[in-house]
Amino acid sequence: MTLPYTRQEMMAIATGREIRDGELAIFGVGLSMLAGYFAQAHHAPNVRAMTEGGVYGATPVGGLPWGIECNRISANATSFTSGLDALGCLVASGRCDVGIIGAAQVDRFGNVNTTGIWDGEIGDHYRPPKTRLTGAGGANDIACGAKRYLIMVAHEPKRFAETVTYVSSPGYLEGGDARARHGFVGGGPSAIITTLGILRPEAATKEFVLAGWYAFSSAEEIRANTGWELKIAPDAAPIPEPSDSELAALRTVDVTGALRKG
């Protein structure tokens, strides 16, 4: 099936749809920034976007930013402050409405690993990972403090584990009300948005279940690519394809076509 859009573009649009106008939002670099600025360009013109380092009021120029504090978003910002301000005063404080983070590995309860890949469990003695990844970065702070957050991840079996090897950023931990034990001010992940569909947490157990699939995917394909016995929500449904206006808005943001290469 040849589509007029890529799977990456579908994921970015599905993520952007989760962002509501006027919200205070924090985006990471790459896909999550494109999803966020797509929302701003399309249906959330008053989204109040910031980056981890305290760059406010900016719209990227000249292509996909190389990093979240790079010159492509420094060129038209209205305010520069600091990491303490953005991640502390505005995110960890509980003020931020929504954040978007990525994941190398995510589990049944939305816990995220971006720290490393080990051969099996780590064990009681900490040892270096076989493959070192990017660490927690600001994602842990978003996961603890944002009112809700979105996890964007490529849907591959190795990335969807029953339990992540290392919790870099807490989802619902062991599920249920486990987050309450730590007093997190943030509400936890509201959706896992993938290249194949969307998973959302069940209200009580906080187990992530299938909420929807794209025109080019199916519940079966998603279950086959998920490392746990994925349940299907009672109201699971196909996810609308990108509209013309959505696709146009996304491509205004993604001027270099980064999402069309994947």
Partner: protein
């Protein structure tokens, strides 16, 4: 009246660094402002066994780690954003040569704030309840760790809260856009945690892309977030963050970012990179020649250039800076 603190990069490294020290740097995330040139000079002077404190990784930590000069590191984000994983750091971690203690980006900033304030600990509402709290590379046998981020009881609510350990690095090399010879500094772009770092570190060296007359600071005192009284030495080093970017000054050098990270993926590549881009210049002129005039011109044609405009009239010409540096070096 404060004194002229301009000295050469080589002299600054000689005076302020030693093997085994806690060395802090890093600034605006992996692609932005950072005193990368200071890291190169640390390697030129064969510093070893560094305990690196970076609120987040940069090409500097990537290089120092890849070259085997770092045995311990405390860090937030450890990648290179769109440039991928940090191969030098990664190789050092995976081999076990470098013990990397993980924190979040906010936690690193908070720990520097705690050091700046001289607090015994900093209340932690982040990093708790994850393996950032439970796993310690510095104390691998403690699982779950009870010492990395211990728990305290909030006396107002009776509820538990985490406690982060403050950081007071022995030395911080801080990249700034503009400094005056006295050590007053202006940063363009996000500060990240450079403000906190400048107060937390025991010694501070500024590495500035350009030197301005102090009159510039008197015109824009609210921009001088690092005042001279916390600064020991000022180094003038254009393109100090290269191949990373410096808002107002130059863009990221995409080509070299990739070349450098690819080289750091192997020992051989790292050795070659050191020969070419660490030991490959004799002085500032050689460094600038190494980057190349054409490349410097294209990087300087940044869309952020207008941010520098208000301060350009105060930028001191190279010969004045050289003269001041000669005087500062002997004081």
């Amino acid at each position: 009246m404060a004194s002229n603190k301009l000295i050469s990069l080589a002299e600054a490294v000689r005076r302020t660094s030693r093997d085994g020290m806690q060395y802090a740097s890093g600034a605006a995330l992996p692609i932005g402002s950072d005193a990368v040139a200071f890291g190169r000079e640390l390697l030129r002077q064969e510093r070893r066994d560094l305990h690196a404190i970076f609120h987040c990784n940069s090409q500097q930590l990537n290089l120092l780690a890849g070259a085997g000069a770092v045995t311990r590191a405390e860090c937030g984000f450890t990648g290179l954003e769109v440039f991928g994983f940090a191969n030098g750091l990664r190789r050092a971690v995976e081999s076990g040569a470098l013990a990397l203690e993980d924190y979040s980006n906010l936690a690193m900033a908070l720990r520097l704030l705690g050091g700046a304030m001289n607090w015994p600990f900093v209340p932690a509402t982040v990093n708790i309840g994850s393996d950032l709290q439970d796993r310690s590379a510095f104390e691998p046998d403690a699982y779950p760790s009870r010492t990395k981020i211990p728990t305290v009881t909030d006396p107002f609510s009776g509820r538990p809260v985490g406690a982060l350990s403050p950081l007071k690095p022995d030395l911080a090399a801080i990249h700034v856009t503009l400094a005056d010879p006295l050590g007053n500094a202006i940063m363009l772009g996000t500060e990240w945690s450079r403000f906190e770092l400048s107060r937390a570190a025991k010694r501070v060296v500024l590495v500035a892309d350009a030197i301005v007359d102090t009159a510039c600071m008197r015109q824009f005192p609210n921009l001088v977030r690092i005042p001279d009284i916390v600064v020991e030495a000022v180094v003038h080093w254009p393109f100090a963050a290269w191949p990373q970017s410096s808002p107002g000054m130059y863009d990221v050098d995409e080509e070299h970012m990739r070349l450098m990270n690819k080289a750091l993926a192997t020992e051989e590549g790292t050795a070659q990179y050191r020969r070419d881009f660490v030991d490959g210049y004799a002085d500032l002129d050689g460094y600038l020649a190494m980057i190349g005039a054409e490349k410097r011109a294209s990087l300087s044609a940044t869309a952020t250039g207008f941010l520098l405009d208000p301060y350009r009239p105060w930028i001191l010409p190279a010969e004045v800076v050289a003269q001041l540096q000669a005087e500062g070096g002997v004081s």
